[in-house]
Symmetry: C2
Subunit: 254 residues, 2 copies
């Protein structure tokens, strides 16, 4: 008997983790995505606890096909110290339900899975096994911030986290600003919320006065803010940013 | 009397333009986004005809607050030959309803406005006027493709369109592949659908055999496909791609 393999379904999450606010998922997820999520019995997730919280919220809108306790929820292997990447065998085990004919959902803590999180290795393993990968429409804080920034949306780069050490961070900022100037490319970075103020301070200090800088925070939340100004204008005003709210930082050299 | 200004609301569209398939908007847009779109009376759009078609589709799910004929729908100024950018005054006129207290919707032909389209200049003008810019959650073919590719989602660049002339295109591909190798950065490009096959041919010919190449086409449509393989594997197989379906091309040097 031939088994028709299941798919790896990339299920988007909301953007409110850790913000202290819980939005209604119908604000950010299409009805069809909630229905898909409610139908999936096998999950690979960044964090099992927040995944269960997500599925409880889905259940308010579309009843889960199986009770929460009956779902097979496994966590993505975390990179271990001294080990550069998890073993391929780990991913094979996680994808075994798909080979046996069941859809497997991949869920991250916020937004689209496998973007700005460790899920891409599982997706890559799925391609290696010949599985169909199905991304579902949902919010990406990076792209919402880019759209709202008014900076160049026809050429942009996401550079992840910047170095934490002040000297290395300043050097990296100058390098990225120079690249932005040469290529007309918007640069996008994120930071752990409790370091938001430090990063904003460094951007305002080290970027050129004519560079345009956007700070987008609390996207899709009631506290949503998005401001784009020249660095010169940022310097001339008091600037504050919360230490719990997820933020995206974008700049384009003038 | 003080007028409270309206906002510039960034309204996402579906990804099915020109594909020959019309999906149900509830597959890709959250209920709250459909409701917001239905409430807006003033629009700035990439194309008035496709904007009206979009609003008719919204009306099937949430009744428009005003009849379609009563809506104020204006097109973004197109860059004219010999004129590098539209005049700032053009944008001031388009945003006048917001200054008078009405929300203005910005809509592109596909996906998030101001990403991979000319809308960013209007968003920038809105920031200049001190207006609140509000991005709404919706699909981005670039990020859905990135998530589904399994390539590096922690560092990536969208480079827009590649040169059409074969020699210039090959040179640009080599430059971007070298950047991808140095930075571990996924490169993302798009092409006008009728040139999809030409671009895929060039990628398979010019990239290094060990580079991983992903082609994602028809995202969110029934014909959705997403394949990631090494260039060597692409070379060893017949590869076809439709000339009507929107596609995203991604690669990461090995």
């Amino acid at each position: 008997m031939t088994v028709v393999p299941g798919r790896l379904v990339l299920v988007p999450n909301g953007l409110d983790l850790g913000s202290g606010e819980e939005i209604d998922l119908t604000e950010v997820l299409p009805r069809a995505v909630l229905a898909q999520a409610a139908s999936i019995g096998h999950w690979v997730v960044e964090n099992a606890k927040t995944a269960r919280a997500f599925l409880k919220r889905v259940d308010r809108h579309v009843t889960l096909a199986q009770p929460l306790q009956a779902l097979d929820i496994r966590e993505l292997p975390r990179p271990r110290k001294g080990v550069s990447t998890p073993e391929p065998a780990d991913f094979g085990r996680l994808l075994a339900p798909a080979l046996a004919g069941h859809d497997v959902g991949l869920l991250s803590e916020a937004g689209l899975p496998a973007v700005a999180d460790p899920g891409a290795l599982l997706v890559s393993a799925a391609h290696g096994l010949g599985l169909t990968v199905m991304p579902l429409s949902g919010p990406s804080s990076l792209l919402l911030a880019l759209a709202a920034s008014g900076l160049n949306g026809q050429s942009f780069a996401f550079v992840g986290y910047l170095p934490v050490e002040a000297g290395a961070r300043a050097a990296r900022l100058r390098e990225l600003e120079s690249l932005s100037r040469r290529q007309g490319q918007t640069q996008i970075a994120i930071e752990t919320p409790y370091r938001n103020a430090t990063l904003l301070g460094a951007l305002v200090e080290h970027l050129h006065p004519s560079t345009r800088l956007c700070v987008a925070s609390g996207l899709t939340l009631s506290a949503q803010q998005c401001q784009t100004r020249t660095v010169q204008a940022w310097r001339a005003m008091r600037h504050e940013i919360g230490d719990r709210v997820p933020a995206v930082f974008l700049w384009l050299a003038g």
